[in-house]
C-alpha cells in the first residue's frame, strides 16, 4: 500500500526525465546565447579600455594581448590635449543638458495636449507629428541652416528693411529648436509621451479637477509624478542622442567645439601634430572615442536601473 502511494508521489514529483533534460538544455543554451551576445556588445568597449592605458611600446610587444605591461596615462593626456577635451566637454554638457530640459518640457506639454486636452484639429496635428518623424532631417538641412544664418522670425525684420541676424556659432539655434519641440527626434519623444499619458487612468485627473485643481496644476502635480518612467526614458534618449549628435552640431557650429565634432576631426589632427604612425594614431583615436563615451557610460550605470524598470511598466507601446 505504502509503496504504491510512494510511486504515485514520485510520478507527481518527477514529471518526465525528458522534460527535465529539455528544460536544462534550454537553460544552458540560453545562458550561452545571452553571454555570447553580451560579449559581442561589450567587445569593442573592452578592447578600447585595454588600449587606453598602454604604452606605445606595448603595441609592438607580441606578449601583450589584453593587459598592458606598463600602465600609462600618456594616451589620455595626448587625446585630451588634441581634442581640447575640457572645453569641448563643457560645451557638450551645456548643450545636451539645456536641450534635454527644454525638449522634455515642450514635448511633454504638446504630448499631453494630444493625449488628453483634445481640441478641434488635434488629431490632424498629431498625424503631422508622425509626418515630421518620417521626413529625413537632410531634406530640411539647407533651409534650416539658412534660417539661422539669416535669422528672421516669419520675415518680421524684413518689413523694417533689416537683414537677418547670424545665429550660427551661438546657442540660440539649439534653444529655439528644442523649446519649440522641433529639435532632434522630437516627434518621437512626443509620440512616446503621448502613448504613456494615454495609459494613465482618466479617473486620476477627474479626481484632481473635482478637488479644484486647475489644468496646468493637474499636469504638473498629478501627471508628472505618474509618468516618471516615460520622463526618464525621454531624458536619457534626448541627452544621449544630443551628446552623440554630429548632424545638428556641425550644422549650427563652425568654430564652437563639441565632443562629437572634435572626435571626428581627431585623426587628421593627430597626423598633423603628433605622429605619422597609423597604429599610434589609431591608439589615440580609440582613447578619444572612449573619452567621449565615458561620461555617458558612467551616467548609464546610474540610470539604467530606472530605465530598465521603466520598460517593465511602460506603455512605450501603443
Amino acid at each position: 500500500m505504502q509503496t504504491r502511494l510512494q510511486t504515485i508521489q514520485n510520478s507527481i514529483k518527477h514529471v518526465n526525465p525528458l522534460d527535465t533534460v529539455k528544460r536544462w538544455s534550454w537553460i544552458a543554451f540560453r545562458a550561452l546565447l545571452v553571454t555570447g551576445l553580451c560579449f559581442i556588445i561589450l567587445y569593442p568597449l573592452i578592447q578600447k579600455l585595454s588600449v587606453v592605458f598602454r604604452n606605445r611600446s606595448d603595441m609592438y610587444d607580441p606578449t601583450v594581448l589584453w593587459i598592458p605591461k606598463s600602465f600609462t596615462l600618456d594616451n589620455v593626456i595626448k587625446a585630451m590635449d588634441t581634442m581640447n577635451y575640457w572645453i569641448a566637454f563643457k560645451n557638450t554638457l551645456f548643450i545636451s543638458a539645456g536641450t534635454t530640459l527644454l525638449q522634455v518640457l515642450s514635448c511633454g506639454l504638446a504630448a499631453y495636449a494630444f493625449a488628453r486636452l483634445r481640441f478641434w484639429g488635434s488629431e490632424v496635428l498629431f498625424f503631422l507629428v508622425i509626418f515630421t518623424i518620417v521626413v529625413p532631417p537632410q531634406t530640411l538641412m539647407i533651409p534650416t541652416y539658412l534660417t539661422y544664418r539669416y535669422f528672421d522670425f516669419f520675415g518680421i525684420l524684413g518689413w523694417f528693411g533689416l537683414d537677418g541676424i547670424n545665429l550660427i556659432d551661438t546657442v540660440w539655434p539649439f534653444i529655439m529648436s528644442s523649446s519649440l519641440a522641433a529639435g532632434l527626434k522630437n516627434g518621437l519623444y512626443i509620440f512616446i509621451f503621448r502613448q504613456f499619458f494615454r495609459a494613465i487612468p482618466k479617473e486620476l485627473e477627474e479626481a484632481a479637477y473635482v478637488d479644484g485643481c486647475g489644468i496646468g496644476a493637474t499636469f504638473f502635480r498629478i501627471i508628472l509624478p505618474n509618468a516618471v518612467p516615460a520622463f526618464i526614458t525621454v531624458i536619457l534618449f534626448s541627452f544621449v542622442w544630443q551628446w552623440n549628435d554630429s548632424y545638428f552640431v556641425s550644422l549650427f557650429f563652425n568654430k564652437e567645439q563639441v565632443l562629437s565634432t572634435q572626435v571626428s576631426a581627431l585623426t587628421a589632427q593627430i597626423y598633423q601634430t603628433i605622429t605619422n604612425d597609423p597604429l599610434y594614431v589609431s591608439m589615440i583615436l580609440n582613447t578619444g572615442t572612449l573619452l567621449v563615451l565615458a561620461p555617458l557610460i558612467i551616467m548609464y550605470i546610474f540610470v539604467q536601473r530606472y530605465f530598465v524598470e521603466s520598460v517593465e511598466r511602460t506603455g512605450i507601446v501603443g
Binding site: 588600449v51 481640441f119 518620417v134 538641412m141 519641440a181 544621449v240 552623440n244
Partner: protein, 299 residues
C-alpha cells in the same frame, strides 16, 4: 485670458491649444516653411549674396543632372536603399528574438538587459563611423589569434561552407552568413527595437498564456499562436522605425551633406534629399501596406 464661464471641456481644449502652441509654432517655422523652401531650392539654383541668398528658377534641371550625369548619386542611392532593405528584416527578427529571450526569467536578467540597451547609448553616427575602420582593433584581433583560418574575428567562413554543403540555396546562405558577419552592426542598431518589443511583451496578459498551457500548448505553439500575433502591431511600428533610423548614418545622407557644404551645390543637395525622401516614403507606404494587412489587433 480664460474666462470663468467656460465649461471644463472648453477650458481643456483651450489649454490643449496653449500646451501644443510651442510645437505648432515650431512646426510652422522650423518644419513647414523649411520643407517648402527645400522644395523650392530643389527646382532652382541657390546663390549666397550679401545679407541673404538668391534663387533662380531652373525647373527640373537639378533632378535631370542627378539622375543622368551625376557620377555617384545613382549608385549611392541604390546602395543605401538596398542595404536598408537587407538589414531591416534581420534587425526586426533579431530584436524580436532578443526581446523574447530577455523577457524570460533567469539569473542576471537585469544585467543582461542593461547590456543589451547599451548600444542605444554608445552607437552613434560619429562613433560608429570611426569604429567601422578601426585599425588597432584589426591588429589586435590578428594578434590574439582569433583569426586562425585567415578569416576575421566573428566571421562565418565555416558556417557558410557547411550550409552550402548541406544544399541550401546560395542566395539564402549568403544572406544568412552576411547577417552573422555584421552581427555587431545589427545588434547596435536594434537597441530601441528591443526596448519596444520588450515593453509590448510585458503588456500581454498572462491569462492568455495560462489558458494556452492548460490546453496543452507547447512553447513553440504558444509563440506562434499568442506571442507573435500580439506582437504584429509593434512589428509594424518597429519596421517603420528601423527604416527611418537607417537614414541617420548612411552613405546617402553623407553625400547630401557633402554636396551642400563641401561643394556648395545647394540645389543639387536639395534635389537629392527630395528624391531620397520620395523613395523612402514610397517604400514606407508599401511596407506599411503589406504588414498592416497581416497585423492582428487584440481590441
Amino acid at each position: 485670458m480664460l474666462k470663468k464661464n467656460l465649461s471644463l471641456e472648453q477650458r481643456k481644449a483651450w489649454y490643449g491649444v496653449l500646451f501644443a502652441a510651442p510645437w505648432m509654432i515650431g512646426f510652422a517655422f522650423l518644419f513647414l516653411i523649411p520643407l517648402f523652401q527645400s522644395f523650392r531650392f530643389s527646382i532652382s539654383t541657390l546663390k549666397l549674396a550679401t545679407g541673404g541668398f538668391i534663387t533662380e528658377y531652373e525647373g527640373l534641371a537639378n533632378f535631370k543632372t542627378l539622375l543622368f550625369t551625376h557620377p555617384t548619386f545613382n549608385r549611392t542611392l541604390v546602395e543605401a536603399v538596398s542595404k536598408m532593405l537587407v538589414n531591416v528584416p534581420i534587425i526586426i527578427i533579431f530584436s524580436l528574438f532578443a526581446a523574447v529571450l530577455l523577457n524570460q526569467k533567469f539569473k542576471g536578467r537585469t544585467l543582461a538587459r542593461a547590456i543589451f540597451f547599451l548600444p542605444v547609448i554608445i552607437a552613434s553616427s560619429a562613433i560608429a563611423g570611426l569604429d567601422s575602420n578601426n585599425f588597432i582593433a584589426n591588429v589586435m584581433q590578428s594578434a590574439s589569434g582569433a583569426a586562425e583560418e585567415g578569416g576575421n574575428f566573428l566571421q562565418s567562413f565555416e558556417l557558410e561552407k557547411m550550409l552550402l554543403d548541406s544544399g541550401m540555396a546560395k542566395g539564402f546562405v549568403f544572406y544568412l552568413t552576411g547577417a552573422v558577419d555584421r552581427i555587431y552592426e545589427i545588434i547596435s542598431s536594434s537597441g530601441v527595437q528591443i526596448l519596444i518589443f520588450l515593453a509590448a511583451l510585458q503588456s500581454i496578459s498572462p491569462s492568455l498564456y495560462e489558458s494556452a498551457k492548460m490546453e496543452g500548448a507547447t512553447g513553440y505553439e504558444i509563440f506562434w499562436k499568442i506571442t507573435f500575433p500580439m506582437m504584429t502591431p509593434l512589428i509594424l511600428t518597429n519596421t517603420i522605425y528601423s527604416v527611418i533610423d537607417s537614414f541617420n548614418n548612411n552613405s546617402m545622407s553623407g553625400l547630401i551633406s557633402k554636396t551642400a557644404f563641401a561643394q556648395f551645390e545647394f540645389g543639387h543637395s536639395a534635389a537629392m534629399s527630395w528624391i531620397y525622401f520620395l523613395i523612402i516614403s514610397l517604400l514606407l507606404l508599401i511596407i506599411g501596406w503589406i504588414i498592416s494587412k497581416r497585423v492582428f489587433y487584440y481590441d
